[in-house]
Symmetry: C2
Subunit: 276 residues, 2 copies
């Protein structure tokens, strides 16, 4: 199989026989959390790496895929620095239409449960202040490119994004408008949260249980662990006598810098105690 | 920067000032090794994973990149299994032209020193015996696809390869003909050699030194380590009073199964002793 452009795998049929029932909350949900939008997810993925695959058009209009490095302007437009001797450079000079795929590293255990985004649009060669901004954006992401950025036979191209398609993994996928993509900001927390999630599970399982019982609507929870965290909140796995639930709990306010996760977690525990 | 389609980075200018001089051999080179061809390198990379990026054409002829899984027929033709609801499936049904990029995982330390291959050609929907072979090839690489391989809304496509472009990393790149690609066989050793290379360096450094002195042409070697191994031979890093050299030494015969590396290494040590 491959990229499924529809909303959920269950559109291909009913859930497999024997799928567990996910229990509903039985208590008040006091810390709801919004999910990141597709535009935010796409911006976060594009900001998380500097390597992708470019699809361009050959002189006969054939689709040509090749590995590229990129940086991104403040509005998320990818900036490429390519050699005049490379085939994709000739392609971009011949036809401005292109798309960039940015993907999480291959997941051998579950190849399709892998985040990726396609940005499609048209490239142009920036000039003047636009060139300076493009150069700075590319070198921010690819400092080693300083060595050849000013060679005559290397060209900067900016991809003006017209279409955005995001797939987060199984059953998590959506499109975003170019305007929403440009206006969104990368998540400062999600790409770096794995260590904090591990710490919460190893040293604060009792606090997560308090949160699950008092704020997430599962007063009958017997255990809770964190699955992932982002700027808006945290996904939990909650054990109850009725089965395992996966509620989401939200911070009091979105986190706007990577170090904010600790204070937001402490605040959530305090809210759980005040409510409990 | 990005995929450089030329032969070496030095085509962009002279080596940086202060680049070390690589010493030449001063003794007989008794174990020369051929390098894998671009066709073999491409087949090896395609066989090493089941995940890539497909470039296809939208109804307006725009290039569209998307993540896909694949298997490969005996001649290396990729086999996709895609949902009718996916955009790339509509693209392939509308225009048979496509390319597949298969790449080593991102290398954050040196993003451009990363192997990748582009296979370009035309897709078709296999029928009869061709369909059975395509199904088997895909499921060999993606066993979990058995779950949906026979759903009505999933289609098999085979990419008939017409062009092959391989990049091994900095300064290692070439094209291959479709005929050479189809006839080549994946390297049974290279994708799994990392552990053996580590073992050689940890426990057999003295043997590697014997090989460097007696077979690789460096009688003045003071230390030697293995860098990588493949079906044809082994790349070494050899320290001499004149600087570091990177010779290649060949097995007596190509290795045709993954377990053959140990016997080939022992044979090389015996040849070194006989020659020394």
């Amino acid at each position: 199989m491959s990229e499924n452009e529809t909303s959920t795998p269950t559109e291909h049929g009913a859930p497999p026989a024997g799928s567990p029932i996910v229990p509903d909350p039985t208590g008040p949900v006091l810390a709801p959390a919004r999910r990141s939008t597709a535009a935010e997810e796409a911006r976060t993925m594009v900001a998380s790496t500097a390597q992708g695959v470019l699809a361009s058009l050959t002189s006969t209009g054939d689709p040509w895929g090749s590995v590229v490095t990129y940086g991104a302007l403040d509005d998320g437009s990818p900036v490429f620095l390519v050699s005049r001797m490379a085939e994709h450079t000739r392609n971009l000079e011949g036809d401005e239409r292109a798309s960039l795929v940015v993907a999480e590293p291959p997941n051998d255990e579950n190849p399709l449960d892998r985040g990726r985004v396609t940005l499609a649009g048209r490239v142009h060669r920036p000039e003047g202040e636009g060139l300076a901004a493009a150069r700075a954006a590319h070198l921010r992401a690819m400092p080693s490119a300083e060595l050849y950025a000013d060679f005559d036979d290397f060209l900067f191209f900016v991809l003006r994004v017209e279409r955005v398609r995001w797939v987060g993994g199984y059953g998590r996928m959506d499109s975003a408008t170019a305007e929403d993509y440009a206006a969104a900001r990368p998540d400062p927390v999600a790409p770096h949260a794995a260590g904090a999630v591990t710490h919460l599970n190893e040293d604060h399982a009792h606090n997560l249980l308090e949160i699950a019982r008092a704020l997430a609507g599962f007063p009958d929870a017997t255990a809770a662990s964190a699955v992932r965290a982002d700027r808006h909140g945290m996904d939990l796995a909650v054990e109850t006598p009725r089965g395992t639930a996966w509620p989401r709990v939200g911070w009091s306010a979105p986190i706007d810098e990577p170090g904010g996760l600790r204070a937001a977690s402490v605040d959530l525990v305090q809210r759980a105690r005040a409510a409990g």
